[in-house]
């Protein structure tokens, strides 16, 4: 029992990156035959016995050739993964209704390409990738659907079975990455709450002004009804739309309390998520307020991401 425990702790000793990379050196690289390899060895033994029994030298040459190629492939399989480096990759954040994909960067500092390298995470196996000589390659592994939240990525496995899939060569890395899963935006969400007039008077929202000709362009597909300048259109016999900032934006606060009609936390977060995306799409200035979290009104991608991350990370 003691020995088993020690072996287990030795096998599970963490592999943290050094200078950003986990190097799969021979101290941390394991190799075992696959089921295909075991079955092939049975076949080879059968062939060997048959050839020996009738002293079929041609059969023996064939068998010994295959044996030596298998042994060689064991060596090549090991070399194929040895001294590969793995490190962080930028995780693309996802919404809870999208399949999650974990990404890892593999760096090949040697002069030979590595083939058939894949990442395994828990029960999920990624595609085979070729990591070209002296290049970095991003390896992806789909890990199914995840719940909303910030998911720390536990130990990943890096494996290769090139050339013949007779041997499985693998190693581990603890990269301490995390995947952010935003709430799934609600589909049929109520319209955005009206912007706060009380707190902030700087952003007085004016009615769209039809009298500003330079902000008018012909109607394009995708323009909303709101954008159409009805008075202008009536004058010129064709639809024209307003564009740009015809209105001075006001501060829109998206608040946890505004979703009080719903009991379910996740649903409330989904609604806020949908609102945040909608507000960003409309080009509004919006702030987010959750119990214990306050994000000042702003707009742009970075702000959007900040708000969504706050929603993902929130624990009520």
């Amino acid at each position: 029992m003691m020995i088993q425990h020690r072996i287990r702790t030795w096998l599970q000793r963490p592999r943290y990156p050094q200078e950003g990379w986990v190097t799969l050196d021979h101290r941390h690289l394991y190799i075992l035959p696959t089921w295909l390899g075991i079955w092939f060895s049975v076949l080879l033994i059968t062939m060997l016995l048959a050839s020996l029994n009738f002293n079929l030298n041609l059969g023996l040459i064939l068998t010994f050739t295959l044996i030596s190629i298998s042994l060689g492939s064991m060596w090549f399989a090991y070399r194929n993964v040895q001294n590969l480096k793995v490190g962080h990759a930028i995780q693309s954040a996802i919404f809870a209704n999208q399949p999650a994909v974990l990404s890892v960067t593999a760096r090949n500092t040697s002069k030979n390409s590595r083939f058939g390298i894949s990442i395994r995470y828990q029960k999920h196996t990624g595609e085979d990738y070729e990591v070209h000589a002296e290049q970095d390659t991003v390896l992806l592994v789909p890990i199914g659907h995840l719940k909303r939240g910030i998911h720390p990525i536990k130990r990943i496995k890096i494996a290769g079975e090139f050339p013949f899939r007779l041997f499985h060569v693998w190693s581990y890395a603890d990269l301490a990455q995390q995947i952010t899963v935003y709430p799934a935006p609600e589909e049929a969400y109520p319209p955005l709450p009206s912007p706060d007039q009380g707190e902030d008077t700087t952003g007085q929202r004016t009615k769209p002004d039809d009298e500003l000709p330079e902000l008018i362009r012909p109607y394009q597909l995708g323009d909303t009804l709101k954008q159409i300048a009805w008075k202008h259109s009536a004058r010129s016999d064709e639809l024209v739309s307003r564009y740009g900032e015809a209105q001075v934006p006001s501060n829109l606060w998206l608040d946890w309390r505004q979703t009080a009609s719903e009991k379910d936390t996740e649903l409330r977060l989904s609604r806020l998520c949908a609102w945040v995306i909608d507000a960003e799409a409309q080009g509004l200035q919006y702030g987010l307020s959750l119990p214990g979290v306050q994000l000042m009104p702003n707009k742009g991608d970075a702000h959007l991401h900040q708000c969504l991350t706050a929603l993902a990370a929130w624990r009520g």
């Binding site: 021979h26 295909l36 079955w39 092939f40 076949l43 059968t46 062939m47 016995l49 048959a50 050839s51 020996l52 029994n53 009738f54 002293n55 079929l56 030298n57 041609l58 059969g59 023996l60 040459i61 064939l62 068998t63 010994f64 050739t65 295959l66 044996i67 030596s68 190629i69 042994l71 060689g72 492939s73 060596w75 090549f76 090991y78 070399r79 040895q82 001294n83 500092t109 083939f115 058939g116 894949s118 196996t125 595609e127 085979d128 990738y129 070729e130 079975e161 090139f162 050339p163 013949f164 899939r165």
Partner: protein
């Protein structure tokens, strides 16, 4: 991922390699047994042509059931040899696996099975064409395996990779082949199917020889050690035929079973080694008289100077002997004399002719000469197609057709001699041979098959007489094939070898080497080889040698894998390493967890003296390594000077 389903091209590749592996079996198996796998393979190709979907599970089961039922029927009918049925069964397994290949994993198993399929025809025979086909199919199968297992790899890579793997493995292949302990006796035995008769049999019918001589197949190859006999003396004696029934000549069974410890003295002048191709015959070919016969096969010399074996050799066999001339002979016993004079009923004209010679010539030699003169005169001619002969074949040949091949001449000659009261017998074997300049040996083909006569002369013993030589002397030296129909002068071919001939010789030499070195290698030869190397030939030595060899390879492999590679350092890192070395001599060692900056600052806390140099160095270093500053000559010189101007440290 290898759970993905197999694409159409991959399915076709599997089919191609399977068809190639099964192809040679067409020559060895009965048609009925070939039919089932044949239908399956055809089904596979049709499915591939359509849209390569694998056989559904239900249909696979039906196919397995049907095949098993047919197989059981075949066994029940017991019409086929058991091993044929076994081979057919493996063919079935291989073709069914191809048919139901769905995933990449299935495809790999299909490739692996293909190697086993390749082994099947070898059970029957190991001819050179099969070897070539095996090499091709093996390469192809490995290639497909690699491509199917990793569909993403580049186009030119697999073949490069395979070549590398093969070349790395070559020494190991050789070591395993020559040193792997072979079985003394087979663990299990299947009764070998009787091999098709080729070459000379123990019966000579009219026309049997002319059939054999149209084959270019090699019968055996001879290497002379020391001097070579004259080509006209190369009569490779096989069997002696005594009994004539008017149509065919047969050996006499009463003389077969006895070993004959010869009192005859043989003065040897040639020694040679013969590699006899596989045949189901129970005798060896020798230049007569022969002595000192070394053969792996158990056998004995009998009273007629035939060397008979206990059982036919398995496959090719090799033996050596010495030959020369006899300086004494045995008187003919009564029984042999009776046999040597026995005449069947029939052929009255020939009998009368022989008897007339007996009364005309007192000396048997003159009677022999009379027959040779008769044959040498027109219109006797030598032909491969003498036409059919009736009841009294000898008469018809001597007095009507006067056209015949060596067996007609030998047969008629012996008949005439017996009628003339001279004991005579027919000998079958080979005459002549083609000298291979490349391999320095004589190749004797089936086309060299020949029949001649021996007569017993009171003061000389048995003497070889070749009646064919009287009519067609060139036939004795060269084979029918070399003659062609034009009857050109054969001596010219020996001197002016065309390049085509040279190439032929070269190919045959290679073949001979392959046969003698590789294909006939067995436990016996293994022992001999070890003993030549001065080692004990038993199994223990082999195991030790293999262990040593494998250990050696493993060691090299591990050393190459674990050989410490110099970490590639950039220029600024090298400079930093130099600085660390200098600081080490002053008592500061950087621990692995320390960043460069942290280390420098720690040094400065303990030893503030070189603040200017160290901080200057650090700034430059970090600018180059982590900033975007280039490492120009200026910066390099500055850093070097900062290292070299480090002051000494006085230890407290």
């Amino acid at each position: 991922m290898h759970q993905a389903s197999v694409t159409k091209p991959a399915y076709g590749k599997l089919g191609l390699q399977l068809s190639l592996a099964l192809l040679p079996l067409v020559f060895y198996l009965p048609l009925f047994l070939l039919a089932i796998p044949g239908v399956l393979v055809l089904t596979g190709w049709i499915r591939w042509k359509k849209d390569h979907n694998a056989l559904p599970v239900g249909q696979t089961r039906v196919a397995i059931f049907l095949s098993l039922a047919l197989g059981a029927t075949a066994i029940a009918l017991s019409q086929f040899a058991l091993e044929d049925i076994a081979v057919a069964f493996f063919m079935l397994v291989a073709s069914l696996k191809w048919l139901e290949t769905r995933t990449g994993r299935d495809a790999i198993i299909c490739c692996q099975l293909n190697f086993f399929t390749l082994l099947l025809p070898v059970l029957y025979d190991q001819p050179i064409w099969l070897t070539v086909l095996m090499v091709i199919t093996t390469g192809l199968t490995l290639y497909h395996w690699l491509v199917i297992a990793h569909p993403g790899v580049q186009q030119q890579l697999p073949s490069r990779y395979l070549t590398k793997l093969f070349l790395f493995g070559l020494p190991l292949i050789a070591i395993l082949f020559f040193l792997f302990p072979r079985f003394e006796h087979p663990l299990w035995q299947i009764n070998e199917p009787p091999k098709a008769q080729s070459g000379i049999s123990d019966t000579m019918n009219p026309g049997s020889m002319s059939e054999i001589v149209q084959s270019a197949e090699p019968a055996f190859r001879v290497t002379f050690t020391g001097q070579t006999p004259d080509k006209t003396d190369m009569y490779w004696r096989g069997l002696v035929l005594w009994d004539f029934d008017g149509k065919s000549w047969k050996g006499n069974t009463s003389r077969k079973g006895y070993q004959w410890n010869k009192a005859d003295e043989v003065v040897t002048n040639v020694s040679y080694t013969i590699t006899l191709e596989a045949a189901s015959n129970r005798w060896l070919y020798l230049l007569s008289p022969a002595t000192n016969i070394q053969s792996k096969e158990r056998g004995f010399m009998n009273m007629d100077d035939e060397f008979l074996l206990i059982r036919p050799p398995e496959g090719r066999t090799r033996y050596s002997a010495s030959s020369g001339t006899k300086n004494s002979f045995h008187p003919l016993d009564d029984f042999s004399k009776q046999l040597g004079l026995a005449l069947p009923f029939g052929n009255p004209k020939a009998t009368a002719l022989g008897q007339s010679w007996a009364s005309k010539f007192a000396r048997p030699e003159d009677r022999v000469q009379a027959a040779l003169t008769l044959f040498g005169s027109a219109p006797f001619s030598y032909t491969l197609k003498p036409g059919l002969l009736g009841e009294n074949g000898v008469d018809e040949f001597l007095f009507d057709s006067k056209k015949g091949f060596c067996e007609h001449y030998a047969s008629a000659f012996v008949f005439l001699m017996r009628a003339a009261g001279v004991p005579a017998r027919v000998v079958v074997g080979y005459a002549g041979g083609e000298y291979n300049q490349v391999g320095n040996y004589y190749l004797v083909r089936q086309a060299n098959a020949h029949a001649w006569a021996e007569v017993y002369l009171e003061n000389k013993g048995w003497v070889r007489i070749d009646p064919t030589a009287a009519i067609a002397p060139e036939r004795v030296e060269t084979s029918v094939l070399q003659l062609g129909d034009s009857r050109t002068d054969s001596r010219r071919t020996a001197t002016e070898a065309t390049w085509g001939k040279q190439l032929g010789w070269f190919a045959d030499s290679l073949l001979n080497e392959w046969n003698s070195l590789i294909l006939s290698y067995d436990r016996q030869k293994q022992r001999e080889m070890l003993e030549k190397l001065g080692l004990d030939g038993d199994r223990k030595t082999l195991y030790q040698l293999i262990a040593v060899a494998l250990g050696f390879f493993a060691m090299i492999a591990v050393i190459v894998l674990l050989w410490p590679r110099r970490r590639h350092l950039s220029e600024e890192q090298k400079l930093f390493a130099l600085l660390c070395k200098r600081l080490k001599s002053r008592g500061f060692v950087r621990v692995p967890s320390e960043g460069e900056g942290a280390f420098i600052h720690r040094v400065l806390r303990e030893w503030p003296t070189p603040k200017k140099e160290l901080l200057g160095f650090l700034a430059l270093y970090q600018g180059v390594r982590y900033g975007n500053q280039p490492l120009d000559t200026n910066a390099r010189l500055q850093m070097k000077s900062q290292i070299s101007t480090l002051p000494k440290r006085s230890r407290q």
